[in-house]
Amino acid sequence: MTHDSFVQSLFRSRNLVIGVGMTAVFAIAALVSLIWTPYDVTQLAIANKMQTPSATHWFGTDHFGRDILSMLMVGAQTSIAVAFIAVGIGMGIGVPLGLTAAARRGGVLDEIIMRGNDLVFAFPSLVIAIMITALFGPSAVNAIIAIGIFNIPVFARLSRGAALPLWTRDFIMSARVAGKGAARISVEHILPNIFNLLIVQGTIQFSLGILAEAGLSYVGLGAQPPIPSWGRMLAESQTLISIAPHLALFPGCTILLTVLGLNLAGDGLRDLLDPRIRRTGR
């Protein structure tokens, strides 16, 4: 594909442009909040509590009078950091494990890796988080570890499952005849062929990571006060939902739009990167 047509299809992919745009808004909000927020999120102003959206407070104020927009901006840092590191942990460990298992399919190593995976997989991220919290107390770091561990078998299973049928294909056979070893075939031939699947799964896991972080902080197992987090804002709004629905509306919409943007970006990327889709113009 020439450079021109690559750029063309980049802009033809509406999903990608919208998705990256939405994701960028939240990423920029998170970055800006590092140096500036409209109001100080640690400042309580009970006199201003539960104000509806206005020119001075675009998204209103919470039950302590804190500016909701500022809290959402700072909360974005936590969400993005937790999800990003957790996907990194999952991919970095899971994909090599899955590819190794597929290359040694039917062997002892395959069996050990896959049973190990089943074992880790048997612990849902929330259960891991519960175990860690029961012992060490709740924190954002524990949330990262819990979600990251949970991502490992997801990527390992996916890459093994996708690689297995490829190993029976003719082009792999010819690579073997050409004298390439299993590791080299995995990296040179299997990995590019499962790359689109990994991207799609990576996006799903990233957005799931954001959702999981929100869920964990909602039940009090994630980032602790005073660090603002989207999930805890929702938890605090729950009892007030009938008198001040905006307290629940804005954090919820923020999570929804962030995750939606990421998913659209992932879909767009897949369309752009998958040679099969590109060739057939699907």
Partner: protein, 315 residues
């Protein structure tokens, strides 16, 4: 098939043993002395000594582990430190809510996802396909506990069709109880159904672009015939994987959703147990959840081999 099943059963047992070792290590060895951990820093030494005696902490680690596993096998999970009643009784009460909730949600998921994925795939590129896929994007992105809160606001607080939370118990009648589980089950099912619809669609599309499908079309089968006889069965393999993955999401999700609706299920139990540092309850509930996931994965593997004979021949 039988050989395959027996072999998988063997690894199921190994997984369970290793899982129990991991949980035992994390809960009973990592905190140092569980008795002083549970009682906190202000506890008197004689209270700690009494609890150590009660929990059997004066025995060796091996004795404690085998005692615990033996108890699990015979249904004796020990006595809860805070509730002062047998853990197995407390857990059984809670499972009577959490398990029906998970099954209800999983059924909704499959009932929604299969037809939706099938329709979207067979009408690829149409307005139906695009709008269905748009809707599933929203379904995946929405945090289910927030969706649950919105449903409570609309259907419980404003319209008063459902109660805002709580569980009347199965004694109140099957339909009354199911009604109380309906909003939680919808909240749990929505994101999972969206994910599964998309997997179903893309898996069908992948299968439909295979050579054997083209051959089947070339020999005169209609698109519908090809879909039902050739594509569907092959497309089910990734779908099964995802259903297996989803069960653990449903279990984990149920823990959070139970909090939204104040349902006295396993999730609420384990959170209360954490704040009360009741390690005996935490340990049992975690083992139970993990057991459920391992068994479901075993069943998914069997289903795999049933759908795809190549897998059982290979192994």
């Amino acid at each position: 098939m039988l050989y395959y099943a027996v072999k998988r059963l063997g690894s199921l047992c190994i997984s369970l043993i290793i899982a129990s070792l991991v949980i035992f290590t994390c809960i009973e060895i990592v905190p140092g002395d569980p008795a002083s951990f549970m009682l906190g820093i202000n506890a008197q030494p004689d209270t700690i000594a009494a609890l150590r005696e009660e929990l059997g902490l004066n025995q060796s680690l091996t004795q404690r582990y085998f005692g615990w596993v033996g108890g699990l096998l015979t249904g004796d999970l020990g006595t809860s430190y805070t509730y002062r009643s047998p853990v197995s009784e407390i857990v059984a009460d809670r499972i009577a809510i959490s398990l029906p909730l998970a099954i209800y949600a999983l059924s909704l998921t499959v009932l929604i996802a299969f037809p939706v994925g099938l329709i979207a795939a067979s009408k690829r590129g149409s307005v139906t396909d695009v709008s269905v896929m748009g809707a599933t994007q929203l379904g995946i992105a929405i945090p289910n506990f927030w969706f649950a809160m919105l449903m409570v606001l609309i259907f419980a607080i404003n319209l008063r069709w459902f109660s805002a939370g709580g569980f009347p118990g199965w004694d109140a009648g099957f339909w009354v109880a199911m009604k109380a589980l309906t909003l939680p089950a919808i909240a749990l099912a929505l994101p999972q159904a969206s994910i599964l619809s998309r997997v179903m669609r893309s898996s069908l599309l992948d299968t439909l672009s295979e050579d054997y499908v083209r051959t089947a079309r070339a020999k005169g089968l209609t698109r519908r015939q090809v879909m039902w006889r050739h594509a569907l069965r092959n497309a089910l393999i990734p779908v099964l994987t995802i259903i297996g993955l989803q069960f653990s999401f449903l279990l984990a999700g149920a823990i959070i959703i139970e909090n939204v609706f104040f349902l006295p299920g396993l999730g609420r139990l384990v959170f209360q147990a954490i704040t009360q540092r009741d390690l005996i309850v935490v340990e049992s509930v975690i083992m139970l959840l993990v057991f459920a996931v391992i068994v479901v994965n075993f069943l998914v593997d069997l289903a795999y081999a049933w759908v795809d004979p190549r897998l059982r021949v290979q192994s």
